[in-house]
């Protein structure tokens, strides 16, 4: 199985005319682009049920459960997300819609069923907590690859290790972050964030990766707040790709009336 994958990788490199030597490293931009696609753009669309367990520094835990639908407007570019909440009961049936843009701020809407209210949400800060978890909006929908400058710091047997420095340091809470990318699948396996005084304070990790419909897929991931000890674990189930989601699902109509695929 593994040899087949390596052969495929070699073949892709050959077709792209980049290198015919498997041991030679692709360029950093190539790695980042492929990692971005592997993590956020598998297939043309997809769905998943997500269970988040949020544990605070005192060890108390809370749960969130939601279904998420994704549709790529263009591969590696704009995307739509639809999130339908199942648990806990005070957020149940709320629906959240994101139109992710590459060249400008995302558009976000939240539907509150008790008020029949479609609320538009300011989306300037993508590094705020998603539903009270340790995941940021950006961890869920992806960080624009052009927002950081990238540098290969190490190539191990299995990983590309890449350091990322924000082009606009004032817009984020980190000074830099380092990502470990699987050389085989291009899946980012771990990211460590360092603050302005050089301390490592945040870690995002893929705990389990499975192949689903041919796409390497993170089925369990964890964010740890290294400063206070809190963490959130996300488990992904009922994952499907290329289900032919209608683009209309990602409009106000379906905020009011959740589509079958999200329920």
């Amino acid at each position: 199985m593994k040899s087949v994958k390596i052969a495929t990788t070699v073949m892709i490199f050959f077709i792209l005319g980049l290198s015919s030597h498997a041991e030679e490293s692709p360029s950093v931009d190539e790695i980042i682009d492929r990692a971005n696609r592997a993590a956020y753009y598998s297939g043309d669309d997809g769905r998943s049920t997500v269970k988040m367990t949020i544990t605070d520094p005192q060890g108390r835990s809370r749960e969130r459960e939601f279904n998420i639908l994704r549709h790529d407007v263009s591969d590696g570019g704009a995307q739509h997300f639809y999130v339908y909440f199942k648990k806990p009961s005070d957020v149940r049936k709320m629906a959240f819609l994101v139109h992710k843009h590459i060249d400008r701020d995302d558009d976000r809407w939240l539907y509150l069923p008790a008020l029949d209210l479609v609320k538009r949400i300011a989306a300037s800060d993508k590094r705020t907590s998603f539903v009270g978890s340790h995941f940021f909006y950006e961890d869920v929908s992806g960080r624009g690859v052009a927002e950081d400058s990238h540098e290969i710091v190490e190539v191990t047997d299995t990983r590309f290790v890449i350091k990322n420095v924000p082009k606009d340091p004032g817009s984020v809470e980190f000074a830099s972050y380092t990502v470990w990318i699987d050389k085989n699948t291009y899946m980012p396996m771990k990211a460590e964030y360092v603050d302005k005084s050089g301390n490592k304070y945040r870690e995002v990790e893929a705990l389990e990766v499975l192949e689903i419909q041919g796409f390497p897929t993170v089925t369990k991931s964890r964010v740890r707040d290294l400063a206070d000890g809190g963490e959130t674990v996300s488990e992904f189930t009922e994952i499907e790709y290329n289900i032919g989601l209608d683009e209309q699902i990602f409009t106000e109509r379906y905020l009011r009336r959740p589509p079958r695929e999200a329920r």
């Binding site: 949020i54 605070d56 108390r60 809370r62 749960e63 648990k87 806990p88 009961s89 005070d90 149940r92 139109h99 400008r104 701020d105 558009d107 008790a114 008020l115 029949d116 209210l117 479609v118 538009r120 949400i121 300011a122 989306a123 300037s124 800060d125 590094r127 705020t128 907590s129 539903v131 009270g132 978890s133 340790h134 809470e173 809190g230 209309q248 409009t251 106000e252 109509r253 009011r256 009336r257 329920r263």
Partner: protein
Amino acid sequence: MILPLSSPQCAEGLEDLKDLLYDKYEIDAYGFLEARGGLRLQEDPYEKSTSIGEMRLQTDLSRDFERVELKIKFDLLGDTVLEEVDLDLRDLNLSFSPMDFMDLKVGRQVLTWGTGDLLFVADSFPKDWVSFFIGRDTEYLKAPSDAARVSLFFDLFNLDLVYIPKFNGSVYIDGSRLSYWNPLLGRIAGRDFIFHDRKPDDFGTDSEYALRLTKNIEGTELALYGYYGFWQTPEGVDPLTPVLIYPELSILSASIRDALFGGIGHLELGYYDSRDDDSGGNPNIRNSEFRFLVGFERELSQDFTGGIQYYLEYMQDYEEYEANLPQGMNKKDEYRHVLTLRLTKLQMNQNLTLSFFTYYSPSDADGYLRPNLNYKINDEWTAEMGGNIFFGSDDHTFFGQFRKNTNAYASLRYSF
């Protein structure tokens, strides 16, 4: 009374019941039990010192048939202020899509549209101002309508049509639990003078019609709205009886909402045509008016959001109004300006929400503050406290009249 629920056996029993309903009948069952109490912070000669005292059980049932969704939501309410037990049916409706481009929702439902934040121009649907002022959950600001809503989705635009066969109307301040300015008595009144009203209530005749045309162009949300019906609050009085009446009203309005300067900007314009008083000369019926609303909201820092709005009511035919106003009645301004400020801070992994909403009217020299603290103790329990603080220099202005109702409240909710 709410505490026994915290016992694990009881919580488990509820979960078992929910599972049973789902496994046997495919009914999704949810809800909450809530205790809420509040006090006036000053003496009000016309009202009780308790502003709110209630126990509420909300049950929310839904069943997904193959093509149709049935939803039933009702509150069982024990109210110590009005000393009654009430069943409040909030949802009883069927939703389905008879055609690809059409959604239909028929029955009792909550309806909302427009872009304002606790200010309304295009949204002509019923509100419950009493719930809002005494410190119930914001959910209760919207009162349900018995309506049929048809939504049509075309490439060029979307169209919503709402038909309400019998006028619903808002819950307004009648004196039974909040004191108010009584223009007939020329003073503040309350339980000593509870207003009675005469609602248009002929099914099929006293109907309301509303429509909305929307178009989203690359994130710019445009909408046109129309309404044909009645003032939702009794904006007229029959001087002989004296009973409050609901004059006829049409509204034409438009809105735009878009991302702006890293936040969200919105603008709404409306013309309120008070059809029973075309000339503006009838002092017993509210004049026609223009309404204008503009607002902006954005994140100020992480988990901290700020929003501001400016709202204007401009009375049409002001000269007619002035000329016909009876002696001794307080004169309203031609322009009523209102500013609002919203500040929301989330803390402790977004489990603690501190929010502050203020209305201030420079023309009426009055205002209304709504501080609120909401803490999610865990996935089941939520505690809340807050206040409704009214101020003003006159007894007859919109917020100023409610000064003696200034109150603080607290609640505890168990969600299941």
